[in-house]
C-alpha cells in the first residue's frame, strides 16, 4: 500500500500545528521556493525558443487561458471531473463496504483473499477493452473503470486498518455493551479511519490516472481526449495546456483531500503531535 501512498505529492504531508506569522511564512517559503525557481528557469530558458517541441512558457500559459477559458475547452475538464468524482466515490464506498465484509467474516476473507489480490495486481487499464465491450462508448464505462481501480487500495487498507484495532478496544466494547451497528460506527470505522484515509488517498491517485487513460481510448470528451487529440494534430502547445490543466486538477484534488482528511482525523493528528 505504501508504494501508492508515497507516490502522491509529498508537499501535502501533515503539517505540524505551529503558531506565529514568521513560522508560517518560513514554512510556506520552504515549500514553494523550488517550484518558483524551476518555473523561473523554464520561463527564461524557453523565452526565445523557436523549436516546435519546446515552446516558450509564456506562450503555453497564455494559450492555456485561451484554450480552456475563452474557447470553451473547460467542458472537457467538467466531463473529466464528473466521471472522476462519481467513479472515485463509488470505488471508495465499495472499498470500505467490501473491506468491512471481509473483516467481519473470516470464512469470506479466506475465500476472497486470492481473488482480491489477483484483481488488485491486475493493471486496471488492461480492462478498458472489456469495459468498452460491456458498457459501450460513453461515460458509463469510464466511471466503471475508475470505480474498479479505486476499490482495491481502499479495500485492502480498510481491511488492514480494521484488523489492526487493539483487541482491548473490542473487549471494552463488549463490557460496555456496545454492539452491532453501533460498534461498527463507534469503534470499527473510526479505529480504522487513519488507514482508510491512506487507502482513499491512494485510490484518488489511481482514479486520476484511470480518468485520463479511459479518455484516451474511444472517447470524445475529457482532458485525456483533449491531450491526445492535440498531439495527433501536432498542436504541441495545445497538448501542453492539457497536461498543465491536468496537473493543476490533480494538485487541487489532492489538496482538498488533505484538508478534509485533517478535519475528519483531527483527533489522530493532534494526539500524534502530543506524542501519545
Amino acid at each position: 500500500m505504501s508504494r501508492l501512498v508515497t507516490s502522491s505529492l509529498s508537499v501535502t504531508r501533515p503539517a505540524r500545528r505551529t503558531r506565529g506569522g514568521t513560522v508560517v511564512l518560513r514554512r510556506v517559503l520552504t515549500a514553494v521556493w523550488l517550484p518558483i525557481v524551476l518555473l523561473a528557469v523554464w520561463w527564461f530558458a524557453s523565452a526565445n525558443s523557436t523549436s516546435p517541441f519546446f515552446q516558450p512558457l509564456q506562450l503555453i500559459l497564455s494559450q492555456t487561458w485561451d484554450q480552456w477559458v475563452t474557447q470553451g475547452a473547460w467542458t472537457n475538464a467538467v466531463a473529466s471531473v464528473r466521471n472522476l468524482l462519481i467513479g472515485y466515490a463509488a470505488g471508495g464506498i465499495l472499498g470500505i463496504a467490501f473491506g468491512s465484509l471481509l473483516w467481519r467474516s473470516l470464512r469470506l476473507r479466506q475465500a476472497a483473499n486470492p481473488i482480491v489480490y489477483f484483481l488488485y495486481v491486475l493493471p486496471a487499464p488492461a480492462l478498458l477493452p472489456a469495459m468498452i465491450a460491456i458498457f459501450g462508448i460513453g461515460p458509463m464505462r469510464q466511471i466503471a473503470l475508475i470505480t474498479f481501480g479505486a476499490i482495491w487500495p481502499t479495500l485492502l487498507n480498510a481491511l488492514d486498518g480494521m484488523r489492526g484495532i487493539d483487541s482491548v478496544k473490542f473487549d471494552t466494547a463488549k463490557v460496555l455493551r456496545i454492539g452491532g451497528w453501533r460498534r461498527y460506527f463507534t469503534i470499527v470505522l473510526p479505529g480504522a479511519a487513519p488507514q482508510i484515509a491512506a487507502g482513499l488517498r491512494a485510490s484518488l491517485t489511481v482514479s486520476i490516472i484511470l480518468m485520463v487513460v479511459s479518455e484516451m481510448v474511444a472517447s470524445n470528451a475529457g482532458i485525456g481526449f483533449f491531450i491526445l487529440q492535440a498531439q495527433a494534430s501536432f498542436a504541441i502547445i495545445k497538448m501542453w495546456t492539457g497536461i498543465l490543466v491536468l496537473a493543476i486538477l490533480g494538485t487541487v484534488l489532492n489538496y482538498i483531500f488533505v484538508v478534509v482528511e485533517h478535519a475528519v482525523l483531527r483527533w489522530y493528528y493532534r494526539s500524534r503531535a502530543l506524542g501519545s
Binding site: 463488549k174 456496545i178 463507534t186
Partner: protein
Amino acid sequence: MEGTTLTTTETVLAVEGLKKVYNEGTQAAFTAIQSVSFTVQRGEFVCIVGPSGAGKTTLLRALAGLAAPTDGTVTFEGAKLDGVPAKLGLVFQDYSRSLYPWLTNGRNVGAPLAARGIPKSERTARVREALEAVGLGGVEKKYPWELSGGMQQRVAIARSLSYRPDLLLMDEPFASVDAQTRFDLEDLVLRVRRDLGITVVLVTHDIDEAIYLSDRIVVLSGNPSVVKEVVDVPLGSERTQTATRSSEEFLALRNHLLSLVMPARV
C-alpha cells in the same frame, strides 16, 4: 442472563471450581488455572493477588464473562454467567488501550449509556455525575490524550461507573501510573466504593495495595493457580495511606501474605 432478577441472596459473585486450559487437547495445552473457588458478598472489596504468571488476568476475564472457563461456573447475582452481564463494570490496566482516542471524554463516558438507549439529555447529566464522582470536572469536551495518565484512568473508571454497575472488576488498574498518582487513585476507589455502595473485585500483584484496599484477599498460587488462602483484612472502613500502612495489623498481614506469595525463598 442479564441479572435483572434481583435475588435476595447477598452473594454477588460465586466462583466454583473454575478451571482454564488454553489449547486444550493439543500439544500446546497450557493450564492457566487449575481450580479456583471463592465468593464475593454485596458491598465487599475483594483483591486477588498472586505472583506474576498466576493467571490473574485470565481469571478476571472469566469473571467478566469475556472468556468461557474450561470447567467450573461463575455465578453473577444468582445467574450462571453467559457473556458479559449488563450490571458489570470492568476497568482495564492500560487506559491508553481501553479508552477510545477518537471520542471526547464525555462521549467515552457516555458510550455505554448511549448503547443502553438512554436519551441524550439524561446522558449529559449522568456523564457529568460520573466524571465528578472521580474528581474530574469540565473535561467532557477534551480528548483522553489531552489528559495525564492518572486522569485518563479516572475517565476509564468514570465510564465504568456511568451505567451504575453492581460489580466493578479492575485489572491492575494502577499499574500504569506513577506512585503518587497510584495512592490518589487507591483512595479515590475506596471513596467511590463507599459513596456508591458498589462491590469491587480488584486484581493486583502489589500486596501492600491489596491490604490497603481490601476487606478480603484471595491469594493465588503460581501456575497453574489454585486458591492458597483467603485472608480477612480487619482494618476497618476508615483508612489513610500513612496511618493504615504503618499500623501493626497492616505489617502483620503483610508478613503473612509475603510468606504465602513467596514461600521458601530465603
